[in-house]
């Protein structure tokens, strides 16, 4: 569904992505792992058009998406929930959600809003509250809810478990499974290596801007090199 080939991107003189190839198939959860600073967020930003690629190709649903504007990419249903939530703090929870469906899913706004509130009852309770007054966990729910308002055909989640309590982390991974089971494939970038490998079908490990390791998640979970590098075992 999403096919990224030999992707290159960077900032100024620094090349961050040096030819990355990954893919996400329909109905799949795919995890992207790697230490801080290897380019995972740059990869997400390049796929969603925030950063212009310097080389390589991005195909979504068979069409060439390389170098498209973020608006066109959102229109096609490739939806990115950014790291650090990036909610609008001075707008109400409801307004944040409605903005998620500004370009896409507008016709089904009421239904989509209901779906998000059903998934995250806390957001319904705080519907009229300023988003900036929410706790960290609630803001994360809001960021994902906002992404769902656009009826994603593929969802990119950048560190969704960041700053969440253990119970919420567990619920977050259960939610990712649920979204995928309901038909939305997920590209999951996470630091929570163990739980990511438990929900993902496949995973890529990125090092120095290239894919260092790739394969079925259960195989990678047993990989000694991965354990040494990322789990400190």
């Amino acid at each position: 569904m999403l096919e990224v080939a030999e992707l290159r991107a960077g900032y100024g003189a620094i090349e961050v992505l040096r030819g990355i190839s990954i893919s996400v198939g329909a109905g799949e959860i795919v995890a992207v792992l790697g230490a801080n600073g290897v380019g995972k967020t740059t990869l997400n930003n390049t796929i969603s058009g925030i950063i212009r690629p310097r080389g390589g190709t991005i195909r979504f649903d068979g069409a060439d998406f390389t170098g498209l504007k973020p608006t066109r990419i959102v229109d096609a249903g490739l939806i990115h929930v950014p790291e650090g939530r990036k909610i609008f703090p001075n707008l109400a929870v409801r307004e944040n959600l409605l903005l998620g469906g500004y370009r896409r899913g507008r016709g089904n706004r009421a239904r989509n809003l209901e779906r998000v509130f059903a998934l995250f009852p806390r957001l319904r309770e705080r519907e009229r509250q300023a988003a900036g007054s929410l706790s960290g966990g609630e803001q994360q729910m809001l960021a994902i809810g906002r992404g769902l308002m656009a009826e994603p055909r593929l969802l990119i989640l950048d560190e969704p478990s960041l700053g969440l309590s253990p119970l919420l982390v567990e619920e977050m991974f259960a939610l990712i499974r649920l979204l995928c089971a309901e038909g939305t494939p997920v590209l999951l970038v996470e630091q929570n290596v163990v739980q990511s490998l438990a929900v993902a079908a496949r995973a890529y490990v990125i090092e120095k801007g290239v894919v260092a390791l790739a394969g079925p998640a259960d195989e990678l979970a047993r990989n000694e090199a991965l354990k040494a590098a990322y789990l400190g075992l």
């Binding site: 230490a35 801080n36 700053g163 789990l231």
Partner: protein, 243 residues
């Protein structure tokens, strides 16, 4: 060293913190955990003087400091870090740490030497002269720690220093925090990463909906049904029990 009694804070109609009692003895590492939105960071903000409490008291080394502004609290030897790191982006790592170092080293050269020593101790030696905004999340967390440590605290309040780190990076920071404690700095830390809480904290307080609902060793709280229900979930509780 730190005695918090009946600390209370409301925002509008919401009681964010209710009658919180908390004790930190010198030389210890104490954990403060609880669900997102339970009031942990609000507690920190009141203890360190960033936020005025509605009621209750904070005593540090026997002196009442309730309501004292953060710079006075820092002078007395208590500083906090922030969950979302906000370094002076255009300044180098050393300059950022110097901001903390100036508290006890008025001369520029002395402050810089102290800042370099502290940052190096925290594994930032390769980045000393780079702008702070070029650091990765993991190194920013260390910078946040270095800025606080450079003020020469007796008590350090850490707000989620492990968030955003992968398991191997967490292990490294666990080592750094142990090192800081071994050099005589007492630590109170808010943390969701149970791998770190298990490795570091001797006593853990659990805050839920603004009130302390449990207190004990990491193992004890892992088997407390109220804590499992409100905070840990069964998966994490299981992993802690088996650790």
């Amino acid at each position: 060293m730190l005695e918090v009694r009946r600390l209370t804070k409301s925002f509008g109609g919401l009681k964010a913190v209710r009658d919180v009692d908390l004790d930190v003895a010198q030389g210890r590492i104490i954990g403060l955990v609880g669900p997102n939105g339970a009031g942990k960071t609000t507690c920190f903000a009141m203890i360190a003087g960033f936020l005025r409490a509605d009621a209750g008291s904070v005593r540090f080394e026997g002196t009442e400091i309730t309501g004292a502004p953060p710079h006075r609290t820092a002078e007395r030897g208590m500083v906090r870090t922030f969950q979302i790191t906000q370094p002076f982006a255009g300044l180098s790592v050393v300059r950022n740490v110097m901001v903390g170092a100036y508290l006890r080293h008025a001369a520029r050269a002395e402050a810089e030497a102290h800042a370099r020593a502290v940052a190096t101790r925290l594994g930032l030696e390769r980045y000393l002269d780079r702008p702070a905004d070029s650091l990765t999340v993991a190194m920013r967390k260390r910078l946040e720690l270095a800025r606080a440590l450079a003020t020469g605290p007796k008590l350090l309040l850490l707000d989620e220093v492990m968030a955003g780190l992968n398991p191997a990076e967490i292990q490294e920071v666990v080592g750094l925090v142990k090192g800081i404690r071994d050099q005589g700095v007492t630590i109170l830390m808010i943390e969701h990463v149970m791998q770190a809480v298990m490795a570091l904290a001797e006593t853990v307080y659990v805050l839920n909906q603004g009130a302390i609902i449990a207190r004990g060793t990491p193992r004890e709280i892992a088997t407390d049904p109220a804590v499992v229900e409100a905070y840990l979930g069964h998966g994490a509780a299981q992993r802690m029990a088996n650790a």
